[in-house]
């Protein structure tokens, strides 16, 4: 395989030594079919073992290796190096505090995800003896797309609302909540409604559509959030009408 070198400019930051992130350049002999991650692993193994980055599955499903590559959030294990010129800038995901080098802090996301109750809620729990619930292929298709999120956080790094409003629950978490609301087996939409339509909920989204643009799994969180807005407005309107009727 043909080899040539590229300059990989990596953002470095060690809180024990650095006041602020800085850029460090590495000259990496790359192969034609390499992904960005392979260049980082080359640096780690052969040039500088002090570089810290997260990665694992290297097949675009574990969601560990999201980074900003030349300013755009990318899953580095599926992003071909050949898409870039002779100098490639790799930085930690934007919109997240940086723990070290390319490693960002995800605690905030996990709190937001948990707050949205991303699990099946039922008035009465099903027992295993009842067997599997029936769900038609059409009912499955109602939410399947939004269940494909790998939590890679590219959408948070791209979202201008996340940048300005730290309490915004954000694309991936809201899409996951909406996925459960759409699931024919779930009855928890009402319990998710307050947080979904509250401060930092779906109505904070101004539909920049950036999350959908950068999503490597075609989840389209922007679509989920707009659908959730519509569903919330409709359910609010319905409850209003029902109340009025009940009152009269």
């Amino acid at each position: 395989m043909a080899e040539h070198t590229k300059i990989i400019a990596v953002t470095r930051f060690d809180p024990e030594r650095d006041d602020a992130p800085r850029s460090q350049e590495y000259e990496v002999p790359v192969q034609e079919d390499w992904k960005v991650l392979e260049a980082l692993n080359y640096i780690k193994d052969h040039l500088d073992p002090t570089l810290s980055h997260r990665w694992s599955c290297r097949m675009a499903v574990c969601g560990s290796c999201g980074m900003n590559v030349n300013g755009e959030p990318k899953l580095t294990c599926r992003e071909p190096l050949s898409n870039y010129g002779e100098r490639v800038e790799v930085a930690p995901l934007a919109n997240f505090p940086v723990v070290r080098d390319l490693v960002v802090e995800l605690e905030g996301f996990l709190e937001k995800l948990g707050a949205l109750k991303p699990w099946i809620m039922l008035a009465k729990q099903r027992a295993p003896e009842e067997g599997a619930t029936r769900q038609s292929p059409a009912e499955l298709a109602d939410f399947k797309q939004f269940s494909m999120c790998i939590n890679c956080m590219l959408c948070y790094a791209a979202c201008p609302v996340v940048a300005n409003e730290p309490d915004f629950l954000g694309p991936a978490a809201l899409a996951t909540a909406h996925r459960y609301n759409l699931d024919s087996r779930d009855e928890g939409a009402a319990q998710r409604a307050e947080i979904m339509r509250g401060e930092g909920g779906v109505f904070s989204c101004s539909y920049a559509n950036e999350c959908a643009e950068v999503c490597p799994k075609n989840v389209d969180p922007a679509g989920a959030i707009q659908q959730a807005k519509l569903a919330n407005v409709l359910s609010w309107a319905r409850s209003f009408v029902v109340r009025r009727r009940a009152a009269s």
Binding site: P49, R100, L110, I120, D183
Partner: protein, 574 residues
């Protein structure tokens, strides 16, 4: 010691087995405090990469007995039959539970759960969610676990030691990767669920985190690792990366072909008979290896080695997109081949370890309060060769059982004296501090790791021979010595991935030692252990489990009888 944390049960590993165990504890006794300790965020666990499906009897024309027999035969009669019996009985319930928790299983038109064919299974009993089954199972379990407040996560904590006192396990010492602190995480029971150690080999489907951590922790605590010589080569890995192309590709009708375009599993006798592409993995991996050795392999420009072709073209774009969309995405992204128009080049790739920490059917080990489940454990479900789609179900069935049993255990057991446990954790911390940024004159982590993976590939491939296995065992022992001279350059306490890589390498070297020692002791061919110099199965001498323990001067070999029951060993022919 920076901090001492108190829980009732400590679970190490946040994949399918660990999460299922945590939920089982929460369901058994909602008052118990569970620490879910993982070196990554749970949704990064390698369960996420499983593709094809999870097995459990679901159809009217299937039976528990058939699932049990397929598994026994697949194991080449080295699986313990009472364990297999229990497994097939509990499998449907576990998959139904996942369904109730929201797993998006693919459906038949009538709304029932769909099943697909898989290797070594006589009928369609593999439940699936397109071809991202592990991903969906993992996220379903993780999201469901969030509802239990008493499951407290210690994310990105690397367990460095089991805290054992007077034959009782009382917790773990864990490095908080983000802060660099070592913590004593105490609990009256510990469940190991850290997966396998496929990263001991250079060409593997396993993600970077699969470094045999739980196996090595148990091994260093004096426990036996069982049946470690049996490692599964999956027939269809992508060239270069080793990325998995699921068996479901063949379950849905894909064909394996050699360079001449011949379906060699049909035209030649590789023991799989009419099952052809749906034979068990050990046999198909051997068939591909032999085809390549016979000069009928496919070469690829720019790739070393030769390959077979996995041909899906006759399935058509519609079926590929509805049943195997991830296969299409992976083939396009990582080898530039669209399976709708071209066959996918593949070769056998290290995938799974049948062996692991020796446990009984409850997941309990020889140390009171210490359990293991999933790939980390060897409960003897898989014997000498695992059937595809049994392992995800194994994580659920035995994760749940070890969770329930540990919950029962902590009701009675009292904790070992805390002072002694903290002292033990302090020793682990001191060891770690000595490693951090150590300016030893020797090799880097990457250099030593490369030497290890080379030795493992040469000694423990699809086909092995005595001399090669012994050489590998000696090399691994020697590399273990060189580890002491490792040179580390990163002195930082914050997210120091050089030190975690060194800890992982130490774990892999322990796992590799057990694999090579056990392999050299088995002078027969059984399941995935194919010896060129002993090509026959030898039930007279080798119908037993292998055990490897860490003795004072290195690995010590021992054996243990197989529990038969219903089926006596017979020739394994399909």
């Amino acid at each position: 010691m920076d901090s001492v944390l108190h829980y009732d049960i400590v679970i190490v590993g946040g994949g399918a087995a660990g999460l299922r165990a945590a939920i089982a504890v929460a369901e058994a006794d909602p008052q118990l405090r569970v620490a879910l300790v993982s070196k990554v965020y749970p949704m990064r666990s390698h369960t996420v990469s499983a593709e094809g499906g999870a097995a459990a009897v679901a159809r009217a024309d299937d039976s528990l007995e058939a699932h049990a027999y397929d598994t026994v035969k697949g194991s080449d009669f080295l699986g313990d039959q009472p364990v297999i019996q229990y497994f097939v009985e509990r499998a449907p319930e576990e998959l139904v539970r996942l369904e109730h928790w929201g797993c998006p299983w693919s459906r038949n038109d009538d709304g029932t759960v769909a099943t697909r064919a898989f290797g070594g299974m006589t009928t369609k009993r593999t439940w699936f969610a397109t071809d991202k089954v592990g991903f969906h199972i993992l996220h379903t379990l993780f999201q469901t676990s969030l509802r239990y407040e008493r499951i407290e996560r210690l994310d990105e904590h690397f367990v460095t030691k089991l805290l054992v006192q007077d034959g009782r396990c009382g917790g773990v010492a864990a490095l908080d990767i983000r802060s660099g602190e070592t913590r004593a995480v105490l609990g009256r029971a510990v469940i190991l669920a850290t997966g396998g150690g496929g990263r001991a080999w250079p060409f593997t489907t396993n993600g970077a985190i699969k470094t045999g951590d739980g196996m090595a922790l148990a091994y260093r605590a004096g426990l036996a690792l069982k049946d470690m010589e049996f490692v599964q080569y999956h027939p269809t890995g992508l060239p270069g990366t080793g990325i998995l192309i699921t068996e479901a590709a063949r379950g849905e009708g894909g064909h394996l072909k050699n360079a001449e375009g011949e379906r060699f599993l049909i035209t030649r006798d590789y023991g799989v008979g009419q099952k052809a592409e749906l034979g068990p993995r050990d046999m198909i991996s051997r068939a591909i290896t032999q085809e390549i050795a016979a000069g009928r392999g496919v070469s690829l420009p720019g790739k070393t080695g030769e390959f077979a072709h996995l041909d899906l073209r006759h399935l058509g774009a519609a079926k590929i997109d509805s049943r195997l969309p991830f296969v299409r995405e992976l083939a396009r992204t990582y080898i530039g081949v669209d399976p709708v128009h071209e066959p996918i080049p593949v070769r056998p790739v290290l995938h799974y370890m049948m062996g692991g920490v020796d446990t009984d059917i409850d997941g309990a080990t020889q140390i009171a309060g210490l359990y293991a489940a999933g790939e980390t454990a060897c409960v003897s479900l898989n014997g000498a060769n695992r059937l595809g789609s049994n392992s995800l179900t194994e994580c659920l069935v035995f994760g749940a059982r070890s969770g329930a049993h540990s919950a029962a255990h902590v009701r009675e057991a009292d904790a070992p004296p805390e002072a002694a446990l903290v002292e033990s954790a302090r020793a682990a911390e001191a060891e770690l501090e000595a490693l951090r940024g150590r300016q030893g004159g020797g090799e880097t982590v990457a250099q030593l790791r490369d030497a290890m993976t080379r030795a493992m590939e040469e000694g423990t491939g699809v086909y092995r021979e005595q001399a090669g296995m012994r050489r590998a065992a000696a090399q691994i022992a020697e590399l273990g010595g060189r580890f002491a001279q490792l040179r580390l350059q990163d002195g930082s306490r914050v997210f120091n991935t050089e030190i975690t890589a060194a800890l992982e390498l130490r774990n892999l070297l322990d796992v590799a030692a057990a694999v090579t020692v056990a392999a050299a002791e088995r002078r027969e061919s059984r399941g995935a252990h194919a010896c060129s110099d002993y090509p026959e199965r030898n039930d007279g001498e080798y119908l037993h489990h292998s055990l490897v323990r860490l003795g004072d001067s290195g690995p010590v070999f021992d054996k243990k009888p197989v529990e038969l029951g219903i089926w006596e060993p017979e020739e394994r022919k399909y």
